[in-house]
C-alpha cells in the first residue's frame, strides 16, 4: 500500500492558489524530503496530508483514507512544525506524558533519553523555550511518537549546527531501527543529502520533480566556458539554468544525459564540465520563470543608473 497518494490536488487561500494539480505518491517506509522555496506550498501540502487542512479539489489519500478530519489518519500521523501549540499549563515532561497516552507506538524511554541529552528542564514550559530549543523539543515529540507517518515541517528552524547534526543522526538511527514513512521539508538540503531517500521538489504549488536522492545528485551537469563555445552545445538540450558571467563566459546547467561522445567534444572545445550539487540544482529548478534573474541583477541594475 502507498503511504500517500495524491492526485490533482488543489488548494486555494482566498485569491491565491497554494497548490496546483499536484499529483504524486509516496511508498511506505521511506524518508522523503519536500523541497521548495518559501511560499512554494510545502507547508500547505504537509498540512493537507496531516489532515489539518481541507483540500479544495483532487484526491488525497493517506493509507487509503482521506486525511481531513479523520481519526485513523490522526492516530497514525504526527505533524511537527515550528509553531506547535502545546498547552501552556503543562510542563515539558507532562507534554511528553500526554504524547505517551495518545500515541500507541510512543517510545517514552527514547523521549526521556533525548530529553536528558538535549538538556531540557522537566519543569519548564513550552512557551518559555527559545526558538531552537522549541524545535528540538518538537523533534523529540515527533521522533518518540513513532507514528507510521511522521511529518516534519522545517524541523530545524532555529537549531544550531550541532543540534541539527544530532537531529539527523537521531532521525536516521531511529528510522533504521523502526522504519516508517517520514516526510521532511527543509531548507538545508545539503545537510540532509545522506538522510533522504527520495525528494519531492515543489515549485509554485506544482510538482517539479520527484526522484530518488541518488538520481537527483546526478540529475544535472554544469557547463562553464566561453559563451560562444558553450552555446552550440546547449542546442537540443534541456537547459535547467543559465547564467552569463563576466568576460563572455557563461555557466549553464543541463540535464545529465550527455553521451561519451558529447562529453569528449566539450572537453576538446574547452568547456568545463562539473557536477551540480543537489542543493544547487533544487535552487535552479525552483527559480522563478520571470525575467527578474538573480539577486545580483538587482544590484547590477542599480549600479547602472
Amino acid at each position: 500500500m502507498k503511504a500517500i497518494k495524491c492526485k490533482d490536488l488543489n488548494k486555494r487561500f482566498y485569491r491565491k492558489n497554494a497548490l496546483n494539480d499536484l499529483s504524486f505518491s509516496i511508498e511506505e517506509n521511506k524518508i522523503v524530503g519536500v523541497i521548495g522555496r518559501n511560499g512554494a506550498g510545502k507547508t500547505t501540502l504537509l498540512k493537507i496530508i496531516a489532515g489539518l487542512l481541507k483540500e479544495k479539489s483532487g484526491v488525497i489519500e493517506v493509507y487509503g483514507r482521506r486525511p481531513f478530519n479523520n481519526l485513523f489518519v490522526s492516530a497514525n500521523t504526527i505533524y511537527i512544525d515550528d509553531a506547535m501549540n502545546f498547552p501552556t499549563a503543562l510542563t515539558l515532561k507532562e507534554i511528553l506524558e500526554e504524547g505517551k497516552r495518545f500515541y500507541h507506538h510512543w517510545d517514552h524511554d527514547l523521549a526521556l533519553r533525548l530529553f536528558d541529552y538535549f538538556g531540557f528542564n522537566p519543569s519548564q514550559h513550552h512557551n518559555e523555550l527559545s526558538k531552537g530549543k522549541e524545535s528540538t523539543f518538537n523533534m523529540i515529540v515527533g521522533l518518540a511518537s513513532r507514528s507510521p507517518l511522521t511529518i516534519f515541517d522545517e524541523p530545524t528552524t532555529g537549531m544550531d549546527a550541532a543540534v541539527r547534526k544530532d537531529f539527523y543522526r537521531a532521525l536516521l538511527k531511529d528510522y533504521l531501527a523502526h522504519p516508517r514513512t517520514i516526510l521532511l521539508s527543509t531548507h538545508h538540503l545539503e545537510e540532509m543529502e545522506d538522510l533522504l531517500e527520495e525528494v519531492l521538489v515543489i515549485h509554485e504549488g506544482s510538482l517539479k520533480l520527484q526522484m530518488s536522492m541518488d538520481d537527483l545528485k546526478e540529475y544535472g551537469v554544469g557547463l562553464t566556458g566561453k559563451k560562444d563555445v558553450v552555446e552550440p552545445f546547449l542546442k537540443e538540450k534541456e537547459i535547467l539554468w543559465k547564467k552569463e558571467q563576466a568576460l563572455d563566459t557563461c555557466y549553464a546547467v543541463i540535464k545529465n544525459d550527455l553521451t561519451d561522445h558529447e562529453y569528449q567534444r566539450m572537453k576538446e572545445a574547452g568547456v568545463q564540465v562539473s557536477p551540480v550539487k543537489a542543493n544547487d540544482l533544487c535552487i535552479y529548478l525552483t527559480e522563478s520563470r520571470n525575467e527578474k534573474g538573480s539577486v545580483d541583477d538587482v544590484f547590477d541594475r542599480s549600479a547602472d543608473v
Partner: protein, 248 residues
Amino acid sequence: MSLIEVQTSEIVKKQIGYKWRAYTGVFTSLVVIQLLGLLFSLNGSGSMGSGRTVYDVNITYYTADIVVGFTIFWGFLTAFLLTTKAYREDDFAFVTNRKTSTLSTIVFLFMICVIGALTALLSGFALKLIAYFILPGEEMLLTQGVGNVSAWLLGMFATIIIVFMFSSLGYLAGMIVQLNKMLVIVMPVVVVGLMILLSRGGFQIQVYFFEFFFEENNAWLFTLKTLSATTIFYALSVLVSNRLEVKQ
C-alpha cells in the same frame, strides 16, 4: 510501524483527561471571579430601610446570587475562550478529529460547570458565615435555609444546567466569531440592535428569554427547556465548527 485503528470513545476519553490536566487554569479564574462575587455580596444583595415613627428598621439581605451570576458569566467566557484558535490547536497537537475534539470539550465544560455551580452554591454558606460573625446587625431575621435535601439537590441541579446552558451559548458565540474575526464586533451589534428594534416593536426578547427559563416553576419543564437549549446551542456550534480548518 503497524497502523493503528482507534475508537472514537477511546480518543474522547484521552482528550478529556488531557484537557483536564492542561486547562486547570480555568479554576484560577473561577476562584477569582467567585471571590469577587463574594466581596460584592458582602454588601448585601438587597437592603430595605423602613423609617417608622420611632423605629428605623434596616434589613440587609444576604445571598450568593451575585456569585451564581458571576459563575454563569464565567461559564460563558470559558467556553468562549476554548473556541479560540490557540486552544483548538492544543487539541490537535495530539490524536484527534473534530468530533472527538468537540465532544471532549463539551464533556470538559460540563465537568467544570458542575464544579463552578457547586462552589457557587457553597460560597453562600461562606458569605453567611462572614455576615453572621463580622458584619454589623443585631439579629438574624431569617435563615431561609434550604430546608430539605431534595430541595437542595434540585437547586444544585438547576444551577448546574443553567451554568452549562450559558457555557453552550458561549461556545456557540465563540465558534461563530472564529469564522470571521469581524464578527466579534458585528455579532454584539446585531444582537443588541435586534433587541432594541424588537423592544421598540413591543417585544422585549431579553425579558421573554428570562421569563422562558427562569419563571418556569415546573422543575421538569425547566430541565427540558434548559437542556434542549443547551443541545441546540452545541449542535449549532458543531455545524459552525465544521466550516473551520484546524491550522492555517
